[in-house]
Symmetry: C2
Subunit: 162 residues, 2 copies
DNA sequence: CTCTTTTCAGAGTAATTTAGTCAACTATAT
DNA sequence: ATATAGTTGACTAAATTACTCTGAAAAGAG
């Protein structure tokens, strides 16, 4: 299992999609604004997510993306695997030849770690996250900021901290 | 937690040390041969391991490295942290400002994953690994190969174990 | 003292990966 | 038609990884 920012971006974006998953499809421009991910990078990510059957796309004006499955069926694991080729933590990709012809000393250790991570990430779905309170709160804030931007209100975000 | 081959090399090397942890210090040339890691790279790794107090060094002929602590006190986690700067899995390093001024949607998710991995890697020590059967078998084979190289003898120990 | 074996320190580097950008499409609603 | 939105693939700058190279310095053996 690979753990990169790419995978995390993908999860953030997918969760955004799950949170706004009503009738109308969500376009990437909105997700880009809310989640602070460049549009072109999102396009790249969603291309992969679509090919893995996690989202479906609707082209043209009013188009965008929608979850292709129930949010409870989409685990964090599936999202991360969709965008990041799974790199194995062992040196040999499950083969037993990590070291010349014999498996390395720590072969089983890394396999165990792999299993462990997978278990955790497979145990959490987008649906569950949507129902979590703290997630909902953050999402509401993000939506509020978007609204403010759209209306061109004088309120500059005043991001003194960074 | 960062998961790199560097960390895996370090664990392999440290386990080698633990397996051969008798009176005499072990030099890196031997570990290099047994674990198939370049000598200069090992030097780099052990420099860090020493600075973190996991090994102690003896210079000069007959010198080498020794575990600075009991093998049961050295967890896999400690080894990996010694050589790889811990990169945080969240975007903000535990701060709450992953996204401008609010924490990102998935902040807690990554923190949880971090905790999970740490728990696993902290739950396993070099001592425990040394006592595991499959590890011992691999180690014996590695030693046998080393011996063969040194003596240039034809007498293969015929290690028909499994 | 000198030779050899070892660790110690840090600079340098080639390859790979990451995190994107850019440009040129295609499909569809109005 | 035209504007909106997804689609594709090539390209790239920056960072990271996984090392190597050089040249010490310490310590024991002869």
């Amino acid at each position: 299992m690979k753990l990169t920012t790419k995978g995390r971006y993908a999860v953030n974006a997918m969760l955004d999609l799950a949170l706004h998953n009503d009738k109308a499809p969500i376009n990437l421009t909105d997700i880009s604004a809310r989640q602070d991910i460049s549009l072109t990078y999102l396009e790249q990510l969603f291309s992969k997510l679509r090919k893995k059957g996690l989202v479906e796309s609707i082209r043209g004006p009013g188009g965008g993306y929608r979850l292709a499955l129930d949010a409870d069926e989409i685990t964090i694991m599936r999202v991360m695997y969709a965008v990041d080729e799974p790199i194995d933590v062992t040196r040999c990709g499950g083969q037993q030849n990590c070291m010349g012809d014999v498996r390395c000393l720590t072969h089983d250790l890394w396999l165990g770690l792999n299993r462990h991570i997978a278990e955790y990430l497979n145990g959490i779905s987008l649906g569950e996250m949507v129902r979590m309170n703290n997630v909902k709160q953050v999402a509401d804030r993000q939506d509020a900021i978007m609204l403010k931007d759209v209306t061109h209100m004088a309120a500059t975000p005043s991001d003194a901290t960074h």
